[in-house]
Symmetry: C2
Subunit: 459 residues, 2 copies
């Protein structure tokens, strides 16, 4: 008999879905999920099920699963726990190979017996079951989207190469929303809740084989099977970076985990040892989960010599401090770079690193300087700080930097800090593939994690 | 003879200003400064000076300082360095008691002799001279505003109780812009550049006596007179908190300082010892300069027992971790609180800390829960995490929390993380006086600094 995980593709790319608990009421989860599928552009067949029948969002609704006139590949179940268990059996009869059980009320509230029933049905029919007690999936290529938070409140990110799997729907939602705001692309998102059948290691393995995914991010409270996790992750990290946060590392956090996803949080030290051993990059904060993954779209480098390009001297000083704090090195410009810089920089600018091209720098001065830094063999990576607030710097500089970054074999990251105008420029950069940060310290934090991965984990 | 610093009030609250170098060209600094004064609502007399005469922005412009038909209290000088020195003498003849010299080209480019001339003139006439090589002042009560960055690019914050003095105009601009974006109020901003006459200690002393200022923030590269600084700061911190970042703490950063503001960066260890001795709260990053000061508007507390209120379980777990990481304590709710919570929370919610009131929580559930936490004597401070993305939570919750915070004798801080919608709610909270943060870890970072100040520095 097939393992349920072997059917995971039917969760991400089903030809047909049955939405059990599709609701007539706009504020209900089952309504939001149906709307996501209809409005998101899912190309397969959609079968809403609701005992009232009729139409929801102009779509024919069936009174029972048995009434659905065709078999279907994936079931999305958003009804109370007891009924969810019964309906899974019904879905199996209709040929479902995957199921997303949104419903809560299982082991996380002590109802282990009911969860065990769910597991037995899934295993008997080799159903790749995600959940229960979760938000389910978002796949930006197939438009499978069971994330039931309204799109006007939680933006959906564009297609991209970062996959995010999260034991917490809420944390996952925050990161999706951030990604949407900054135009950072996501391949797949999975909120997997109680992980009763499909666990974090199954998802890791699936994403390892997924061509749309280049970087994997995880929010973990506990893992179901430590050895399986260690083995799976170790095989993946040399090819695809895994960035993970372990939540519940403190005594208080550990206790909080039990009542959240019913997981055993386990010893934090054991997790960190496993992360180190398997090459997982450890994230410490919610910010890390967004800041670190996006830097992995950049060209790999093993060097630590960083150049700083800025139009604000103070920010350059802070960058020099941040570089040293993260055990990176402030690059020494080559003599060629220095003389070329001197040929066009104002006399009151110093042609050294951090390179302050002064508050009156325009986009062209940034462009010329950046090209020289890209060409300099003494430099491994570049931090560009932009004070968009100056009168001389127009928004063409974002295009210039994105273009240069696209052809650069060195990683280039940007920092800008400020209000509405600056935020808009920053989002522009991120959406063009240049990772941006709100301070030199957060940029160097991400860059140091990236360089450590390139040095220690890449083959 | 009076010390120049004794005339500092003429810089912040002059009855009349002369803008030397007021320009007809909109992209010039002297034009931007004149526009700031005219459009910002400065109530005093304004005398623009430009050799071409005529009118700028419909305001009569004088060909020379001598032509100005009246004496004036403050001069703002934005012309090349050599000419700036000559014009200061002219301004002295017109009775100027304060001057802001925007112009660069002095000690920061090795031109110490010229700077010395400027200092001599200022001292001879007891002129409180700010600069040179700076952006000067912004005072939100008098609308003195020499910050020459365009208002559409750099927002001006509303009136408030935080003063920010910065050796770097660029860093200062970033923080002003952030404050404007989040509706955080500022009393005064000073970019003091080379600190040739008025130094950081003079400004500290002025702000210590300033009733509009309750919290002082500093970006420092070096101090002019260490003993004076230590003495001044030590006297202030028990009454007004001082939050400061020392830039140039690394070897590389230290070297970068010299070419930036011509300061001697000095030993980082000596600075940190001085900060500790004088009760200055140390900021480490650009984020800290915005995140930490705003928490000081809250009621003082010496307790470390933190309650967490959230509608997302994962975020609650991260908060528990962040509390322990910062050596704070997760509060134990009193039996009364627990039974009162149980009376209205859904059965699947656990009435313990971190308190997850579940994803279907509405504003009223937040309100009831928050009132109980405010009343509980086992709790010293409250972290409210808001996932605005859920369907059940409408924007009325911001008003509810702001109201509760206003009457609470305990500090209340909020966390929310996400996209456009969430950011808008977050800004709303900040502008109503509830400090917000982008993650539990950054909130607990600020709160721990606040509690440490209350415990160790307050009398």
């Amino acid at each position: 008999m097939k393992r349920p995980a072997a059917n995971l593709r039917f969760a991400f790319s089903p030809k047909s879905v049955c939405i059990v608990g599709a609701s007539h009421h706009p504020e209900k989860i089952g309504h939001a999920i149906l709307r996501n599928f209809l409005q998101g552009g899912f190309a397969g067949a959609i079968y809403p099920v609701n005992p009232q029948g009729g139409e929801i969002l102009k779509t024919r609704c069936y009174r029972s699963i048995a009434d659905v006139p065709s078999s279907f590949e994936c079931a999305i179940i958003a009804i109370p726990a007891e009924a969810a268990v019964a309906s899974l059996e019904e879905c199996a009869k209709k040929g479902a190979r995957a199921a997303v059980v949104i419903s809560g009320g299982f082991s996380e509230v002590g109802n282990k017996r009911l969860e065990e029933k769910l597991v037995q049905i899934a295993k008997k029919h080799s159903i790749a079951l995600i959940g229960p007690n979760c938000m389910g999936l978002l796949c930006t290529s197939t438009q499978v989207d069971s994330v039931f938070l309204p799109t006007y409140k939680l933006g959906r990110p564009k297609k991209g190469e970062i996959a995010f799997i999260s034991q917490s729907g809420a944390v996952g939602g925050c990161i999706l929303d951030l990604a949407s705001r900054y135009g950072v692309g996501i391949s797949k998102f999975v909120s997997f809740g109680n992980a009763s059948v499909i666990d974090e290691s199954d998802l890791l393995q699936y994403l390892a084989d997924d061509e749309e995914t280049k970087t994997i991010v995880m929010y973990l409270e506990g893992v179901k099977d430590g050895k399986k996790f260690l083995r799976t992750a170790s095989q993946i990290t040399p090819h695809k970076p895994i960035i993970a946060i372990k939540a519940g590392v403190s005594a208080a956090g550990n206790a909080a985990v039990a009542s959240h996803t019913g997981s055993l949080a386990g010893s934090a030290a054991a997790y960190f040892a496993a992360f180190a051993q398997s090459g997982i990059i450890r994230a410490h904060t919610l910010e890390d989960l967004f800041d670190i993954p996006k830097i992995f779209s950049l060209p790999r480098t093993r060097g630590k010599r960083i150049a700083v390009l800025t139009n604000g001297g103070g920010n350059g000083v802070l960058a020099a401090d941040a570089i040293e704090e993260r055990n990176l090195k402030l690059a020494q410009f080559s003599p060629n770079t220095i003389s070329a810089l001197k040929s066009f920089l104002p006399t009151y600018a110093n042609a050294k690193n951090p390179l302050d091209i002064i508050g009156d720098a325009d986009a062209q001065r940034y462009e010329k300087s950046l090209q020289l830094l890209i060409a300099d063999k003494n430099i491994d990576a570049i931090l560009v700080i932009l004070l968009f607030q100056t009168p001389a710097l127009d928004s063409s500089v974002t295009e210039i930097i994105a273009q240069a970054a696209q052809f650069s074999k060195k990683p280039i990251v940007c920092v800008s800090t400020g209000g509405e105008y600056t935020e808009a420029q920053r989002r522009q950069l991120d959406s063009m593939g240049v990772p941006t940060y709100s301070s030199p310290s957060s940029a160097m934090r991400a860059l140091s994690k990236f360089i450590a991965y390139c040095e220690n984990v890449c083959p």
